[in-house]
């Protein structure tokens, strides 16, 4: 087990912090009693306002310290898998829940674990595992001081919120301590980097300490042609990158013909991948050892998330066999390929936030034969992205040969239906309201069949609630994962 870092800021160490955490608990319980959702943000907002140094506290849990997980896609699932590994390894993970990944979400994680006295119990195996929004990370990184920082990928996402994607990558590079700072501050975070994403991989040049690489070696799962949502085409030196193969968007085996920068050989690699409708069988190379892994959720992106969790576990010193066992046994994260049974039909919920993610969902769906029954839900709130243009960047056309039935829903159901129509697919119904849309979609799904629900963030929250109620499953804040 790795040595615990210094812990001078144990959460609940000061009276002020304890009072703040208690106030957060009151806020959480009140929102739940009022039926205003799970209270994943408000408790942290309340507590964090009363004691701003709770962010520092979140990073200095007494025990094993903290890990941050960031990137455009896969944060929640990777955090979920790493927490499962940590539990399997006998540690006590503390995570922020359900994609609540802004600063207040981190503080909510402390509120959730604080006892009735406002103290977070001191345990030797405590490990903070926090997913952090890619644009927010630079504002909290130096305060959290994680031991390990995982970077998954960088795709265009919610440009209405972030402006331009380049500024996100620049923020990441700027937040890392220099070697001199790392020595002075005794803080040199290990970077866990996706070797296949050049925007992420180039961060290695700014790494103050160790780098652990993960990536896909298997050439057989590369895309036959390029995808449209391809974002990082240029090197730091300004030249156009060459992609020998692409796995998703700009993620693949890349090099720069001008300056010679190239993809690093991963420490944790998927050397063989066999995708099926439910998940994938993967040969994982860890150093020089080769091990088998069953990834229990579909799509190549699920493989990448599993590799990231394995690499982070490796950086933390968890045994490989423990990590593989934990991933194989892990259920899906909230709203990420979660499965339910309703009225004799299977329902699977897919969160779609951006073109790269939606392309991967499409790819996972068409990996199996047979007609697909879809409910596609598009909302345009702040958390969804107010600009719905992105749906035109996803290659929905690939679904056309396999569409069994299609219902479009959400605040921008009409935009969604028009996007499908332009791709050659006609919606049987276009219904803004969630419950009615769900009825219409279930009506068109044969008994024993599967309804795949693809939804943007707030639409996913809505539809998951409706589906869970019909399936007799609890609300998300009751989910112990």
């Amino acid at each position: 087990m790795p040595t615990p870092p210094r812990s001078t800021h144990a959460p609940g160490a000061s009276i002020r912090q304890r009072a703040a955490l208690l106030a957060g608990r009151v806020a959480r319980d009140a929102t739940r009693r009022l039926g205003r959702g799970g209270g994943t943000a408000l408790p942290g907002l309340v507590a964090g306002t009363l004691a701003p140094d709770l962010i520092e506290a979140a990073g200095r849990l007494p025990g094993l310290g903290a890990v941050t997980v960031t990137g455009t896609n896969g944060k929640t699932t990777t955090t979920h898998l790493l927490a499962a590994i940590a539990r399997e390894a006998g540690w006590e993970p503390l995570t922020n829940r359900s994609g609540s990944n802004l600063a207040r979400g981190l503080v909510t994680a402390l509120v959730d674990s604080a006892g009735a006295t406002g103290e977070v119990e001191r345990r030797a195996g405590r490990l903070g595992i926090y997913e952090v929004d890619e644009a927010v990370l630079p504002t909290v990184f130096g305060r959290l001081r994680p031991r390990v920082a995982v970077f998954l990928n960088l795709f265009r996402d919610q440009l209405d919120r972030y402006g331009e994607i380049d500024s996100v990558a620049e923020g990441w590079a700027a937040m890392l301590p220099s070697e001199a700072e790392a020595t002075r501050e005794e803080w040199a975070p290990t970077l866990v980097l996706n070797a296949d994403d050049p925007s992420v991989a180039l961060l290695a040049e700014d790494a103050p300490g160790r780098v652990v690489w993960f990536g896909i070696d298997d050439e057989g799962v590369a895309l036959p042609g390029g995808e449209h949502a391809s974002d990082a085409r240029f090197c730091r030196c300004g030249s156009r990158l060459h992609h020998e193969r692409q796995f998703m968007g700009h993620v693949g085996h890349w090099s720069c013909p001008a300056c010679g920068r190239h993809r690093a050989r991963p420490d944790i690699a998927a050397s063989a991948v066999r995708l099926d409708a439910e998940g994938s069988d993967v040969e994982v190379r860890i150093g020089d050892a080769c091990l088998s892994l069953r990834v229990p959720t579909a799509g190549l992106y699920s493989v990448t998330n599993a590799l990231a969790a394995l690499a982070a576990a490796h950086a933390l010193g968890a045994p490989a066999d423990v990590a593989l066992r934990a991933i194989a046994a892990a259920g899906p994260a909230f709203g990420r390929q979660e499965r339910f049974e309703v009225d004799g039909r299977h329902i699977r919920i897919w969160l779609a936030k951006n073109p790269a993610g939606l392309n991967e969902i499409v790819r996972a769906l068409i990996a199996s034969d047979g007609p697909k029954h879809l409910l596609a839900m598009l909302n345009d709130g702040i958390q969804d992205g107010k600009d719905v243009s992105w749906i035109y960047d996803a290659d929905l056309e690939r679904l056309a040969p396999q569409i069994g039935s299609l219902v479009c829903a959400g605040d921008r159901a009409d935009d969604m239906a028009l996007r499908f129509a332009i791709g050659g697919m006609t919606a049987a119904a276009v219904i803004a309201e969630t419950e009615d849309a769900l009825d219409a979609a279930l009506d068109r799904t044969p008994s024993g069949g599967t309804l795949d629900v693809i939804a943007t963030y707030t639409a996913m929250i809505d539809v998951r609630e409706a589906v869970a109620r019909r399936a007799g499953v609890g609300s998300y804040w009751e989910d112990p994962s």
Binding site: L159, G163, D166, R240, P355, S389, D414, D415, R419
Partner: protein
């Protein structure tokens, strides 16, 4: 193939720098043109030209989308070198739609956030200046009324730092109802010059603005065949619904332009 001129060949749609100026999903405009051309039984051919490519000999409709400063810097010089050819095309009535970053670079010049002045293709008599740091980008739902009576209301989403100003010979494409438009100050949106339109509207803009799409397609047909077609109205059920939904969102969420 159009019935007007059976021997004129397919309408040539040129998609410019579609692998570079692709950040805001303006690819939807190409998809919408293909879709509507099929509905109208028009034979079209889409040609892509990007960095290092020569322009084709001719085109009837030119499309270019938006990109960040980084992408704009990559294409600016080459696009400016295509300027004389593009200007000649515009003068002979080739239809054009340049969106956001493409619109800026179809102007005279663009001074980007770093202060560097990028040359433009000078199809439009407009100039653009990116404001200094600290100044807000123009981001949000937008509803405008076109100066082209056949086009009417146009809806979309704008996301730009640069402020664009019309030169003395320029005509705005539209007046802002809700949103920011060219510069947030003078109430103009975009520019129209003959059959060429520049605009800040994403959405993508063409799918849910079928009247604008028809306006461009008609001019592309006219350029190919020499005859302005008279298009029969289409039902446009989904298009109208998506248009109305976007207009409603703009009225609700964006500032009314006084």
């Amino acid at each position: 193939m159009t019935s007007d001129a059976p021997n004129a060949g397919p309408i040539r749609v040129l998609s410019l720098y579609d692998d570079v100026m692709n950040v805001y999903a303006d690819r939807g405009n190409v998809l919408a043109v293909q879709h509507r051309a099929a509905l109208r039984n028009l034979n079209i051919e889409v040609i892509a030209a990007s960095l290092g490519d020569a322009l084709p000999e001719s085109a009837d409709l030119v499309l270019i989308g938006g990109g960040q400063d980084r992408e704009q810097r990559r294409i600016a010089e080459e696009l400016a070198a295509h300027g004389p050819a593009l200007r000649a095309w515009a003068e002979e009535g080739v239809a054009m739609l340049a969106v956001c970053g493409g619109f800026q670079l179809f102007g005279r010049w663009y001074r980007d956030t770093s202060g560097e002045q990028l040359p433009g293709a000078e199809v439009f008599d407009v100039t653009t200046v990116a404001p200094g740091p600290g100044q807000e980008r123009c981001i949000g739902d937008i509803l405008v009324t076109s100066t082209l009576p056949e086009v009417g209301a146009v809806v979309g989403f704008e996301n730009h730092g640069g402020r664009t100003y019309l030169g003395p010979t320029a005509t705005p494409f539209a007046r802002v109802e809700y949103g920011h438009g060219n510069n947030g100050a003078d109430g103009t949106e975009g520019v129209v010059h003959g059959s060429a339109i520049g605009t800040y509207l994403h959405g993508s803009v063409l799918p849910k603005n079928p009247r604008l799409l028809d306006w461009l397609l008609a001019r592309a047909v006219q350029h190919r065949t020499g005859v302005m077609p008279s298009f029969a109205p289409l039902e446009d059920v989904l298009e109208s619904r998506a248009h109305r939904a976007a207009a409603e969102v703009a009225r609700r969420r964006s500032p009314r332009f006084a």
